[in-house]
């Protein structure tokens, strides 16, 4: 095995891990805190990728800057979706269990709505743009500039989000609501508002992950679903409600799938599933617990 290959695997693993972590932390905010297992989560990734693509193609906006555009836009879409659909479902369900079932099924409907609007609007064709598409030589090895940019961008995003969750007041409120809604309410936290913003933050993270993906890969309106599946695996890996668990789980799963990808490409999803099934069976509350 050459050094080049080791570096390739390491960098790809880190990029994939970072993207998985972003998406999974988003899903964890939505399921772990707001109790909506949002099956349409992958579609937000796709929408984020398309917004970045069009911003770059039509207005020449740098993909790294589209965070300013893409983030708030998806935050608003997410907030709208939660306030209209899921809050209504929550109000009309007798118990949290019933709400979980209904909100998941409703979000499956949303998956179809979003995906098909995208198909009708943008067409099924593969789209791609070239951004920073030149090699960089470093320590006698060559890397593609856009991959390095994606890596840096993802790591910075994760760091910012980590600091937000751990140190900011809003982050503390989110963790409190995830641990125990009732007590959080008693401590003076506006829980319904926290749940809504958690759902919206989740779509924002998915959208930003989509931005990063569009820098490196071709995109179609159908790219979302596999990312949902991965996010679900990571959610189980890190434990629902444990947002930092999702961060770690995403990085681990990203590295594992990348390694498998180099050995036997067709099996990378199968291997992630076997991991997923094993974790669910041995520790249903997640490896890291709640």
């Amino acid at each position: 095995m050459s050094i080049k290959l080791v570096f390739d695997v390491a960098i790809t693993g880190l990029i994939m891990g970072g993207i998985y972590a972003l998406i999974a932390m988003g899903l964890n905010l939505q399921y772990g805190v707001a109790r909506v297992l949002n099956v349409s989560h992958g579609e937000f990734v796709m929408v984020g990728a398309f917004i970045t693509y069009f911003a770059h193609k039509l207005f020449g906006i740098n993909p790294l800057l589209s965070l300013v555009l893409c983030g708030p836009l998806l935050f608003i879409i997410g907030l709208f979706m939660y306030r209209t659909l899921f809050q209504y479902l929550r109000r009309t369900s007798q118990s949290l269990d019933v709400f979980e079932g209904r909100s998941m099924l409703a979000s499956f409907g949303a998956l179809y709505v979003i995906q098909n609007i995208a198909l009708l609007w943008w067409g099924p064709n593969v789209k791609a743009y070239s951004y920073l598409n030149y090699p960089i030589r470093f320590l006698g090895l060559t890397f593609e500039a856009n991959r390095l940019a994606a890596l840096l961008f993802t790591l910075v995003l994760i760091l910012v989000f980590y600091l937000f969750v751990v140190y900011s007041k809003a982050g503390k409120a989110i963790r409190a609501a995830a641990q125990n809604e009732k007590s959080a309410q008693l401590m003076g936290i506006n829980v319904p508002a926290v749940l809504g913003s958690c759902f919206a933050l989740g779509s924002l993270l998915a959208g930003l992950a989509g931005s990063v993906i569009s820098m490196m890969q071709e995109i179609t309106p159908l790219i979302g679903f596999p990312y949902l599946i991965i996010a679900m695996i990571v959610l189980v890996l890190g434990g629902a409600g444990n947002i930092l668990g999702s961060l770690l789980g995403g990085l681990i799963l990203g590295s594992v799938t990348t390694i498998v990808m180099y050995v036997e490409p067709g099996l990378s999803l199968v291997v992630s599933y076997v991991i997923f099934a094993l974790i669910l069976l041995i520790r249903p509350e997640g490896v890291l617990g709640r």
């Binding site: 019933v98 709505v113 189980v236 999803l269 599933y273």
Partner: protein, 312 residues
Amino acid sequence: MDNTTGLLKKGFFSSLLVLFLATLPFYMPPYTPLAVTSILMYVVLTVSWAMFCGPTRYMSLATATFFGVGMYTSAVLGERLPFPLVVVCGSLVSFLIGLLTGYICLRLRGFYFAIFTFGLNELVRNFVLWWEGRVAHTVGRWVVLVDSLTIYYYMLAIVVLTVLVTFVINRSRYGLILLSIGEAEEAAAHIGINVTRYRIFFFALSCFFIGMAGAVMATKWAYIDPRIAFNPVLNFTPVLMALFGGVGMMYGPIVGAGVLTLASEILLSRFPYYYMLLYGILFIVIISFLPDGLVGLTKRWRKAPLLSQAGG
């Protein structure tokens, strides 16, 4: 209403309906049985989904998986065995995999069961995709064709069988056992019910009928590949149909499957481009505004107390 007369009445109307469906090909244009076949298929899927998931409240999202298992059994064995045996094999393979799955997710409670079964479908689909490419060197498979009238009668027979079995289960003590698992699983275990055994067996039994339908339907579609056979939409459709009809009552899932299949066929023929979009909207509307289904609506009109609520 007296229990026995109610039962007789139900039996009478059901046999009339079956008789009507059985003689349908004689006085209807030839495409009618074709269209009715897909309704019958969804009735089987929905009723067998509701057989286990309705009373126990474990939401299974693996209908497509077992349907696909039936389809693949049919594709592999189609040339080697006569058709009735193929169908039996399809359902048995599905039953065995159902037993295995049930055994594996023993420890999963509540919503994790839904997540696991949803993941199971992706696992099986990706594995079959890999297997076909790597080991069998194909993408899809051709299935031996069977004429559409035979398929129609097979589906009708499967519907009758599924509904009868579900009816008997609901009437017997096993129906009560399943209900008690849904109401309070731990309490059920404490009063001496072997919860594990019943959960596994009845989950596998519902897979049995789903696999049977898959084995028959494969011969209608003629060509299958993992993306068709394990299409994730089919994981959700029976749930929606059952909820739409109402899970508490026996005829809820049947009505739900019938009405929704008809509705989606009409949507598909009228608005082929917007079909999936409209389907998604329909999905959201039903989940939001019909939590107890059509049966729940009629019950609300009669002001009777609701039996049970579906959904995990």
